[in-house]
């Protein structure tokens, strides 16, 4: 049986790879992909804790299920916003959006 720490280390690696991508990439779609990596890392943690530490409950599993649903909705709305930003600014990097800059 795989110890639960292995899952934790795997999800921590995935999480911080996502953080690295979010900080370094300047393209809106690439940043969104990094956010998906982070969400998946969290999902692995929920599922592993639920299954290996508290196998009689189902809280972590349903949390993961709802996170998957919310992530799908979130990426759909974000893609809509990105397409709109692209129409307005003819560019899809974050540097081009300076309307709210003080």
């Amino acid at each position: 049986m795989i110890p639960v720490e292995c899952y934790f280390v795997l999800s921590a690696l995935l999480f911080f790879i996502g953080v690295f991508g979010f900080v370094t990439r300047r393209n809106l779609i690439a940043m969104l992909i990094s956010v998906e990596l982070i969400l998946n890392a969290v999902d692995i943690n929920f599922a592993a804790i639920n299954r290996l530490l508290y196998p009689h409950g189902m809280e972590g599993m349903f949390m993961t299920l709802f996170v998957i649903g919310v992530a799908a909705a979130e990426s759909a709305v974000a893609i809509a916003i990105i397409i709109n930003v692209y129409r307005h600014f003819k560019s899809d990097t974050v540097e081009s959006i300076t309307n709210l800059k003080g």
Binding site: I2, L14, F16, I33, A48, P55, G69, A80
Partner: protein
């Protein structure tokens, strides 16, 4: 033993694809590597005997979300993205790498130093589907009809919101 080998394979696929995903400069390749990461995570769910969760992951993430990304890349990037080589500043690369590494070390140390008591009595069978179904739409204790309904409304609101945001505005006369 078989579980360990499968876990190692999935871990290598996930971490390798994630690294390639954030370091490649072509956006289309990043989306493809994201697909591999999602399949690896689905494999992890199957390994944990959450077959329903793995199926949902493949259906929603790998089937839906990745398609949205590919669609958006093709739509947005006719001029700007296809074959784009993104220039990342060295200083930002350095700062991001350092921050991620520091966070990784701290989180890993905390997780490894904390003693977790494994429940050794986990049967090596999948969670039965009728149990999941009852818990998902039941309204009793430890049952989840309220978040289920909330998700339905939330998805509807997101569909309408996405349509409103993305539609073409009519030109004023």
């Amino acid at each position: 033993m078989g579980n360990t080998i499968m876990f190692i394979i999935f871990a290598i696929v996930i971490v390798g694809s994630a690294l390639l995903c954030v370091t490649t400069s072509r956006i289309m390749r990043a989306a493809t590597f994201l697909l591999f990461v999602l399949f690896g995570v689905a494999g992890i769910y199957f390994l944990l005997d959450y077959t329903f969760l793995g199926a949902a992951q493949i259906a929603i993430y790998a089937g839906g979300v990745t398609m949205i990304y590919v669609f958006a890349i093709q739509l947005v990037s006719k001029r700007s993205l296809q074959g784009l080589v993104e220039h990342v500043k060295g200083s930002r690369l350095m700062a991001g790498g350092l921050a991620a590494l520091a966070g990784l070390v701290v989180v890993s140390l905390i997780l490894l130093k904390t003693g977790f008591f494994m429940n050794e009595s986990v049967a090596d069978v999948e969670v039965p589907m009728d149990k999941i179904g009852e818990a998902l739409v039941g309204s009793g204790k430890y049952q989840y009809v309220l978040p289920f309904e909330f998700i339905s409304l939330f998805l509807l609101a997101c569909i309408i919101g996405g349509l409103v945001v993305a539609r073409k505005e009519e030109k004023d006369v």
